[in-house]
């Protein structure tokens, strides 16, 4: 058995969480409360140190220093203050009467990312995928590869048909859509099968900790 206090605390918390498998109980509730509280605090502190201080505080400080030392406005660094002001506007939600002002910073966020997403998705999801699916249907002297490529092109084609919304899935069209969803199901099965190993690894690591590190039963 371990003599390390940290190990005992960790073991207690691990068992507390796992007890949820049997049923909800006070120990799980306690662990859950600790988990939620500590994680929210952790998140807040990391945001403070990794975003607020370097992106707002430091930049504005530089801008003020430049103003004091050289007497000129350093617009590049001042601009981050504007980001800060937008952030403060977000907080105006808490004042019911002028809460609608918080839509402005929201609009900046959504606008920025919608422009970005439009390009990103179009390029890396649509165009690059089309480009990569362009493969020869016949590979000279390699029957396996030829058959594989034909199946890939047909599968992609049918899969896309499945995602058609404005046409009824019946007749040949419906048949193709069905083949498409078969392909998709094979993929889901494969994903599932592969995930089992990862999840088991996590459990094995925990068991190793409990049985090995904590109880000292292994080796």
């Amino acid at each position: 058995m371990s003599t390390n206090l940290g190990v005992w605390i960790a073991a207690f918390l691990t068992l507390g969480i796992m007890s949820f498998l049997y049923k909800d109980n006070p120990i799980y509730k306690f662990c859950e409360a600790v988990f939620v509280g500590v994680s929210a605090g952790y998140w807040f502190v990391t945001e403070y140190f990794t975003v607020f201080l370097p992106k707002v505080w430091d930049n504005v400080e530089t801008a003020i220093n430049v103003l004091q030392a050289e007497g000129r406005m350093d617009w590049f660094h001042w601009s981050y203050l504007l980001g800060g002001i937008l952030g403060v506007l977000m907080l105006l939600r808490l004042v019911p009467k002028i809460g609608w002002i918080s839509r402005w910073p929201l609009a900046v966020i959504v606008g920025t990312t919608s422009g970005l997403w439009l390009i990103n998705y179009l390029v890396s999801n649509a165009m690059v995928q089309v480009r990569q699916t362009i493969i020869p249907l016949y590979v000279a002297g390699n029957l396996n590869a030829s058959i594989g490529n034909i199946i890939i092109v047909v599968g992609t084609f049918c899969g896309l048909i499945y995602f058609f919304f404005s046409k009824e899935h019946k007749g040949v069209f419906g048949g193709a859509a069905k083949v498409g969803i078969w392909f998709i199901m094979i993929t889901f099965g494969a994903s599932f099968g592969y995930t089992v190993m990862s999840r088991m690894s996590l459990l094995i690591a925990r068991m190793d900790f409990l049985v090995g590190t904590w109880l000292g039963l292994l080796k």
Binding site: I17, F20, D24, Y28, K29, C31, E32, F35, V36, V38, S39, A40, Y42, W43, M90, R93, S102, R103, L106, I109, V110, T112, T113, S114, W117, L118, I119, L122, V123, S124, A126, M127, V128, V130, R131, T133, I134, I135, P136, L137, Y138, N149, V153, T156, F157, L160, I161, F163, F164, F165, S166, E168, H169, I184, T187, F188, G189, S191, F192, T195
Partner: protein, 415 residues
């Protein structure tokens, strides 16, 4: 009023596309005539013949901190005495001034991109709009010979990245499809959309909660408020909460992101207002838990077990927690409707929830629930874009089979 506004934005958008496409025709590279190679006859000297025709010009498609240097290979590179080992590229800000080494390329190469940093503080800062002169030095073992100094060149940024033209076309085609069908839909033409089981189950699921007198749990996922999946989920939430307002069923929304929480509050409040029951809206039911993945799940699991909601919605961005949520929900006996665009998580939703919206279906859901012509119109436009993609797929496969390289080059995208 609204429609007019949308129309104007559309027009503005098209105008801007046209404007940017004007730059297509502009060849921003400086075309410089390459002179006849002047071969220097070397006599008894050991060093290799110097490179000739050193030309510096602005590097294309960049932000203005690079020059492209080209030259004609030394007469002794690979032929002649065959003693050129490498070329050194030297730069100065005056023809007579001191030259500094900028780079080295092996023999046989005749192009070098002299790139620098854009920050003034950086040691390797490359000032734009400033004349630079280049020399190329052919090096042999310990001995070398320099080319003549090039004509001055300046680095400047470009207004259009020529490598991105296919993307521009794709954006234009896609937007055109969408805009055309929005117009068609607005004219009142009925557009068909095929049924989606997950969407049709929404009403039934809300009805069940009302009968049982239990709340509805709506999870917006782990994504931030600007992710496409989350935004699609907001639109669905707005429909769902309008229904819950009508049925007077409470809706619980624990959030993983403070901005998502703020938006969810706004959305639900508006839906209650629209349903004519603003007094039933309870802000305290839409709250922030924590932003850390598993802590959030621990909290939500607790809610599911203790509140026993009749219906759980999981719509948005989900990662490994998908199965933790869905299994706990099914343990609590709730009807569950899920949807995400994370392909790795869909199998778990398929296995553990009653209805699943797969990928694009999640985005389309807003059109299904709203049935507004503009939304249906974009859905139709999207399908047309899909048809186009499928045509490209087939043509591309044929082109690859029969080696039509030019067609394949059409789709080359410079990232």
């Amino acid at each position: 009023m609204k429609d007019k506004y949308i129309f104007r934005t559309g027009v503005l958008l098209i105008f801007l596309f046209m404007f940017t496409s004007l730059f297509l025709g502009m060849d921003t590279c400086l075309a410089q005539e390459m002179g006849e190679a002047e071969i220097l006859e070397d006599s008894l000297a050991q060093p290799p013949a110097p490179p000739t025709n050193v030309v510096a010009k602005d590097a294309p498609n960049d932000n203005g901190h690079a020059l492209l240097v080209t030259w004609t290979l030394s007469a002794d590179d690979g032929v002649g005495r065959n003693n050129v080992v490498s070329y050194q590229i030297l730069r100065s800000d005056s023809p007579e001034g001191e030259f500094e080494v900028r780079g080295l390329v092996p023999a046989g190469e005749n192009i070098f991109s002299d790139e620098g940093a854009k920050e003034k503080e950086d040691a390797n800062y490359f000032p734009p709009h400033k004349d630079f002169y280049y020399k190329v030095r052919a090096r042999s073992d310990g001995i070398f010979s320099d080319s003549e100094v090039s004509a001055p060149a300046q680095a400047y940024g470009q207004w259009y990245h020529t490598g991105k033209t296919p993307v521009l076309f794709a954006v234009i085609i896609f937007s055109t499809f969408a805009l055309v069908f929005i117009t068609v839909a607005r004219k009142g033409k009925e557009l068909y959309i095929r049924p989606l089981a997950g969407i049709e189950a929404v009403d039934e699921a809300i009805g069940r909660a009302t009968e049982m007198g239990k709340p509805i749990l709506y999870i917006l996922g782990l994504g931030s408020a600007d992710m496409i999946a989350t935004i699609a989920s907001f639109t669905i939430l707005s429909r769902v909460s309008k229904k819950t307002a009508e049925y007077q069923t409470p809706i619980l929304i624990p959030c993983c992101d403070p901005i998502v929480m703020a938006v969810a509050q706004e959305t639900v409040r508006a839906a209650y207002l629209e349903a004519g029951r603003p007094d039933d809206y309870k802000q305290e039911n839409i709250y922030y838990l924590t932003s850390m993945q598993f802590a959030y799940v621990a909290g939500v699991n607790g809610i599911m077990i203790r509140e026993k909601p009749a219906t759980n919605f999981y719509l948005g961005k989900f990662y490994a927690e998908s199965l933790l949520l869905a299994e706990t929900g099914s343990l609590a006996g709730s009807i569950q409707i899920s949807g995400t665009d994370e392909i790795a998580q869909i199998p778990f939703f398929v296995a553990a929830t009653d209805y699943t919206l797969i990928g694009e279906e999640l985005y389309a859901a807003s059109a299904y629930l709203g049935r507004e012509p503009v939304l249906l119109g974009t859905l139709k436009g999207q399908d047309w874009a899909k048809a186009l993609v499928m045509i490209f797929l087939i043509l591309g496969a044929l082109a690859a089979t029969f080696h039509f390289q030019w067609f394949l080059n059409l789709l080359k995208v410079q990232l």
